[in-house]
Homo-oligomer: 146 residues x 2
Amino acid sequence: MKNSLYIVIVGCGRLGSHLANQLSRVGHSIVVIDSNEDTFDDLSPDFSGFRVVGDATQIAVLSQAKLKQADVFFATTHGDNVNLMVAQIARKIFNVPHVLARVFDPRRVQIYDQLGIETICPTSVAAEMFLLAVASSRAAAGDAKP
Amino acid sequence: MKNSLYIVIVGCGRLGSHLANQLSRVGHSIVVIDSNEDTFDDLSPDFSGFRVVGDATQIAVLSQAKLKQADVFFATTHGDNVNLMVAQIARKIFNVPHVLARVFDPRRVQIYDQLGIETICPTSVAAEMFLLAVASSRAAAGDAKP
């Protein structure tokens, strides 16, 4: 029955708009919230979801996005604190089953974990990829030989 | 012979300082370049590498970092254009064998590829992780059933 999910995305920057465009394209119902209306310019012409202009840390704005009906909630603003706050509201007050927040500061990941918020940390992922590159350079430099 | 690599890192933000600390700790020779001296505060007390204060798009600054001897070069500033520029200088002028640049805008990745610069795009990686989360939500919502 449920082929399409109801997904609310806070933040319409590079990541938020990319997710909104992709997920709308494959048939999900999307609502994007951003306090800056100009960011909606990054939504593609075939984006079929809704745009809500407002501060997502305000319950009224989240209610306007019909957050209670959401299957998935993404917090993708550039502020780690904003993401944590809206993610907690989505989880605890609106009972959204699947909540994810982007967090730039790797030191915060553990705190978010303890607060029950699933996170994605692009900084840590990038760091791992850079460190892998070093490992491959060591191999190329003949590090295996004593 | 070559257990330790000579690694030059441009940008001492969250990613740059994390890489510098990690790689110094395991015995590599590190030089970090940043135009803002305050960013070096994020280097750990046991960081054994060198700090260079300056604009890394200037050849003189890169020479001061002894870039010619580098095995690996990382461009990790918050500016995609700066990263592309310094990465190209490292590759083409200083002939560093392994050059990597962080790029936030996924649309630029292809251009950088064509210019021979290996990139790591945290935005794309984060997007993939968010999309995977949606896939798991669909599965949980019983999407498999028609």
